[in-house]
């Protein structure tokens, strides 16, 4: 009954304030034969239905943990998004709680102005990286939020376009200043 498998997380979801998907990943162990995979990981239609029902159960009920359709679900509702972590019903609740806290707190760290829908969508790339550093194909990879956040890179900054023609630059500036000065002087007169 107790399974020593490392695949303890079945899905990570982020739903918005009306139950629509912001992010969803139903984990499937790679290289596993098709028939051993759960139904949920295979059909998008079933997933959406599952999310709809789950959202109805959890929206405005602040209970943090529940069992839903033979899954253990941990969740946290924010202003306009809800974070979910879905695990197997036999998994240790505290282990999942640890993973969920890591997921939640690392998002908190990387999203400077707090967890909300707009912020998640604006920094979708870093959110994706943070989740990827927390859970890999359903295996809990790291549980320390700071360790996760430290492995998430910020988006690259645009390298400024510097023109290296120094001579032309100085002369140009001089010409420009001269013409402006002349203009001013003429206007003043």
């Amino acid at each position: 009954m107790t399974d020593l498998s490392l695949y303890s997380v079945q899905a990570i979801l982020i739903l918005d304030g009306s139950g629509n998907r912001v992010y969803a990943n139903y984990y499937r162990p790679p290289h596993q034969p098709e028939e051993q995979l759960s139904v949920l990981s295979q059909s998008v239609k079933k997933q959406k239905e599952f999310e709809k029902q789950l959202f109805a159960k959890t929206h405005k009920h602040d209970s943090e943990i529940l069992i839903f359709e033979d899954h253990l679900v941990l969740y946290k509702e924010y202003l306009d998004v809800t974070l979910y972590l879905i695990g197997s019903i036999e998994e240790n609740e505290m282990v999942l709680q640890l993973a969920f806290t890591a997921f939640k707190d690392s998002l908190d760290l990387i999203l400077n102005s707090g967890i909300d829908k707009k912020n998640i969508q604006e920094h979708y790339d870093t959110v994706l990286l943070a989740i990827d550093e927390t859970i890999d194909h359903g295996v809990i990879l790291e549980t320390d939020p700071a360790a996760i956040a430290s492995r998430v890179t910020k988006p690259p900054v645009n390298e400024p376009q510097i023109s290296l023609d120094l001579d032309k630059g100085l002369l140009g500036a001089w010409g420009f200043a001269k013409s402006r000065l002349q203009e001013k002087l003429q206007q003043g007169i």
Binding site: H61, E64, I65, K117, L129, L141, E142, A146, A147
Partner: protein
């Protein structure tokens, strides 16, 4: 597309996402550009991934093209772009082709990349490898496993874990390095932290290494034991998750070999006070689960300290810890509620927990641990707040109350009042009301004292009930139970009101119910009035109602005039059919359609139950369901949050409990059918009784044999179902030889035995041995022997190899006993004490049982051996007391004589003393049964 909308998507902050085609084209053009613009590429990748996360997908050719152009981005050395590229590779690898082409670029990164991207590269590597190329990663993975950086080592370990199904051999080659990874503590290198964060070392690498190590060694029990010894030392494992993993490893081992448990007891005791709650929980879960399966192997102290640990977890502020502890306690409460009575104060304080899941769990657990003394106070607590909770929770609570009514029939008054209160005053939907009515129906059937009051209140309820389904059920119940009550006329009035006021569906149900009152013996004058009422209804505007009234009138008239038993049967049937077998027979009748339904359907072969028998079967199912159902069928749902999926299950659960039991039913029906379809056996006449199936071998033996005993009036048939679990051997001429234990005294005469010609691998087939027997009760033990010829099979064609002759072999299987219990069917009686006193013949026997078993195990054995029904919830032996009394009731399968047993058990240090007192209408049966209990 206008420039306006295009600009809108240029802005990363926009919540809107362009459509699939736009993203595809943007990606294709941008990724192939030179030089690469890393910022824009990362944005596009994140958009692409967002699209995928929202459930969109790309056709294979587009996905492949995307994958190909993304792999071009490897040219750019920017780490933050690289991380995104790996995400995209992971996401696209499952939908695109030719993912192998990225392998070399990824491998280059694994070797030479920065510490930041190395883990990402390693983890992406698994998704592009396949069976034929996995071995090439061996050297890379091996060196990454031993890397000092925890993220790199973890990435390599999890990647190897993912690769196991296709490359176990590769992972086996670095099993030593993996073992070192468990031992090594790898802190985060603080010197070159990239960002603004200072990571804490969780040493989670140990968890990954342990998980992988288990998979590599899982078939080797000794190696696993060694692992536990090595790692259970207090300082080896720092990672919380790894410790939980170790507890699970112990759990796995003791499930495989229960005897190991005692050697782990000190370790487990130690873990119960571990600083991590997760470890405490997992250990408590292990101990209590194990105790459910092997009660005598767990010392009472250990179990008690597990419960104490859980008890202290009930008061912690963290919701999930409380939730988890309650879940375990709730599970324990289903089997041995007395063990967790100590937690009652904590449980009571959790009733008002803000998390409704917790409060409902607390209530249901409390209801299980409830004893006769505190039930009524508990019910009054619940009555106070039941009107405040949501429908789902009300249903759970009502369900729990319903099981109480079966367990504590003495408390019927409080329970009934509670149910009536919620029925009348509670606001709720169909499902909720239906559950209450269910509970009341249960009480009417199984708690005779409560019958009148419950029926009266149901009558009141139907006066203003808006749900047709419930009304029809109540009307049916009134028709069934009403005529035998003291004042049937009362119910007639209520039923007739329905005829006047309701729609046609209810009117027809009411007509049927009314007609049942016509022949009641308690009030002979009623017959006339019913007839006149029915006459009036016969003019109803609805044809179904008219038809039913007319038919009822006809039956009543003929039943009265000619004392016609058939008509009487129609008006008020005393038998009900075995529904599962009726259903399967009917469906096979319809599907076969041999002569376009010229031959009428034959119902004589289907078992019929009298009302008492039907009740006995139902009660038995409910009792078993209480015990096992909750544990095994995963019905352990968060109370109330499952209405969608669970609702249906619950609806079906009263019709025929769990699927398992339903299948069990069907199996016995199937066996009986197979049996009766045989020419030689058909001649024996109708089947009187069949026993449960008995396992005659180890369930893991090469040949699994299960026996069933069938009784006919003058014959007995032993059925042996044999399953060949071998994959490459077929058995020819399989027979079972049965020798009576005392051949000289045997009064059974063997008639014939039927053998199996060929039993192919993983097939099941049956052998039969038939005996002639006198009409009397005959008891006999048989020594059994399985004989067969083995034939080796060609693995390709599954045909026997020609050159092998096959050789004769024998296989000993357990003995089978035909005992008094096989002549008994369980039966229900409302008032056991009265029924017991009324029976004429008495027999007493005393046993002294030296075996070391618990009272509960003995009780279970008694119930099985006698095939009687335990009444007044005496089937649960209290584990805190050394004595117990079991009350059993049954009927002879041959002639229907009642038999009642009172068995007193006293447990002492020397064993269990048992005094059985039996009374029956049949003296021989009684003495056989009482003297053959063990």
């Amino acid at each position: 597309m206008s420039t306006h909308t295009y600009k809108k998507f240029e802005n990363a902050g926009s919540g809107d996402l362009p459509d699939r085609m736009t993203i595809y084209q943007d990606c294709m053009s941008e990724f192939n550009e030179s030089p690469v613009n890393p910022k824009r590429c990362r944005l596009l990748i994140s958009r692409l991934l967002r699209l995928l996360a929202e459930g969109e997908t790309f056709p294979e050719n587009e996905a492949t093209a995307l994958f190909f152009s993304i792999s071009k981005l490897f040219q750019h050395p920017n780490d933050s772009l690289r991380q995104s590229v790996y995400l995209a590779i992971k996401a696209l690898s499952s939908i695109s082709e030719d993912v192998l082409m990225a392998t070399s670029s990824i491998m280059k990164d694994v070797q030479n990349g920065s510490d930041l991207v190395k883990p990402n590269a390693i983890r992406a590597l698994t998704t592009v490898l396949d069976e034929s190329t996995a071995f090439s990663a061996e050297r890379l993975l091996k060196s990454a496993v031993v890397n000092k950086h925890p993220s790199i080592s973890s990435a390599a370990l999890t990647s190897s874990y993912h690769l196991l199904p296709i490359a176990e051999a590769t992972a086996k080659r670095f099993v030593n390095e993996t073992q070192e990874a468990v031992m090594d503590l790898k802190p985060f290198p603080h010197r070159n932290v990239v960002g603004d964060y200072y990571p804490n070392s969780t040493f989670i690498t140990q968890y990954h290494a342990l998980g992988l190590l288990y998979q590599l060694k899982k078939s080797d029990k000794m190696a696993l034991l060694k692992l536990i010894r090595q790692f259970s030392d207090n300082n080896t494992l720092k990672s919380q998750l790894a410790k939980v993993g170790l507890v699970k490893l112990v759990s796995e081992l003791v499930t495989r070999d229960a005897q190991l448990f005692s050697s782990f007891q000190p370790l487990l005791n130690n873990w119960l006070s571990n600083k991590y709650e997760s470890v405490q929980l997992e250990t408590a879960k292990l101990i209590t689960n194990f105790a459910i399966q092997h009660p005598h192997l767990v010392s009472a102290e250990l179990h008690a300290s597990a419960v104490t640990t859980l008890q202290s977890l009930l008061t912690v502020p963290r919701v999930s810890a409380r939730f988890a502890a309650l879940r375990i306690l709730n599970r324990v409460s289903m089997v041995s509620p007395e063990k967790i009575v100590v937690c009652n104060p904590e449980l009571e304080s959790l009733i008002n927990d803000p998390n409704r899941n917790i409060s409902t769990y607390a209530i249901t657990t409390l209801l299980k641990t409830g004893t006769e003394s505190n039930i009524s106070s508990l019910i009054s607590t619940i009555t106070k707040f039941i009107h405040e909770v949501s429908d789902d929770f009300k249903i759970i609570i009502v369900d729990a109350i319903r099981t109480l009514s079966i367990n504590f029939p003495q408390e019927w008054m409080a329970i009934l009042n509670f149910l009536i209160d919620v029925l009348k005053n509670g606001e709720g939907g169909l499902k909720f009301k239906n559950n209450i009515v269910e509970a009341l129906i249960d009480m009417v059937s199984f708690v005779p004292q409560a019958k009148d009051l419950a029926l009266e209140n149901l009558c009141d309820f139907i006066e203003d009930c808006e749900f047709n389904e419930i009304l029809v059920r109540i009307l049916h119940l009134l028709g069934k139970e009403g005529p035998s009550t003291a004042t049937p006329s009362l119910y007639v009035r209520h039923i007739y009101n329905r005829v006047v006021l309701e729609n046609s569906i209810i009117r027809s149900a009411a007509v049927v119910a009314l007609s049942k009152f016509a022949l009641t013996k308690n009030d002979p004058t009623l017959g006339e009035s019913i007839v006149s009422l029915l006459r009036r209804i016969a003019n109803d505007q609805d044809d179904e109602v008219r038809d039913r009234a007319t038919i009822a009138l006809k039956f009543i008239e003929s039943a009265k005039k000619e004392e016609n038993p058939e008509a009487r049967e129609f008006v008020q049937s005393r038998y009900s059919y075995d529904l599962p077998s009726l259903e399967s027979k009917l469906s096979s009748y319809i599907s076969s359609n041999a002569d376009s339904f010229q031959t009428p359907f034959d119902v004589t072969n289907i078992r019929k139950y009298t009302e008492d028998e039907a009740k006995a079967i139902e009660l038995k199912k409910k009792q078993e369901q209480l015990l096992k159902g909750h544990l095994e069928n995963g019905s352990e749902s968060t109370p109330g949050l499952e209405e969608g999926s669970k609702g249906e299950k619950r609806d079906s659960s009263y019709a025929g409990p769990s699927l398992d039991e339903h299948q069990e039913d069907l199996r016995s029906t199937k066996y009986a059918e197979e049996l009766l379809s045989m020419e030689q056996i058909k001649e024996f006449g109708p089947l009187v009784n069949s026993s449960r199936t008995i396992d005659l071998t180890d369930p893991e033996a090469e040949f699994v044999v299960r026996g069933v005993k069938h009784l006919f009036n003058n014959h007995a048939v032993l059925q042996f179902n044999i399953t060949n679990t071998l994959t490459d051997i077929a058995l020819d001429n399989v027979t079972v030889t049965c020798t009576p234990e005392n051949p000289s005294e045997s009064s059974l005469e063997e008639l014939f035995s039927l053998s199996i010609d060929r039993l192919s691998p993983s097939q099941e087939a049956a052998c039969y041995v038939a005996y002639n027997k006198s009409e009397e009760i005959v008891m006999e033990g048989f020594l059994n022997n399985l004989t067969f010829t083995t034939r080796e099979l060609d693995p390709e064609t599954q045909q026997p190899l020609d050159d092998t002759e096959g050789f004769q072999d024998e296989f000993d299987i357990d003995s089978i006993f035909l005992n008094a219990g096989d002549y008994i069917k369980s039966s229900f009686v409302g008032d056991f004490t009265n029924a017991f006193d009324e029976l004429p013949n008495e027999e007493v026997a005393v046993y002294n049982i030296k075996e070391n078993i618990t009272l509960q195990e003995l009780v279970d054995r008694l119930v099985v051996n006698t095939s009687c029904l335990p009444l007044e919830s005496t089937q649960y032996a209290p584990s805190d007391s050394s004595s117990h009394t079991v009350k059993l009731f049954g009927k002879s399968a041959l002639k229907g004589e009642k038999i009642a047993l009172v068995v007193k058990l006293i447990k002492t240090s020397k064993g269990i003393a048992m005094k059985a007192q039996g009374r029956s209408e049949d003296a021989t049966l009684c003495s056989y049964l009482v003297n053959g209990l063990m």
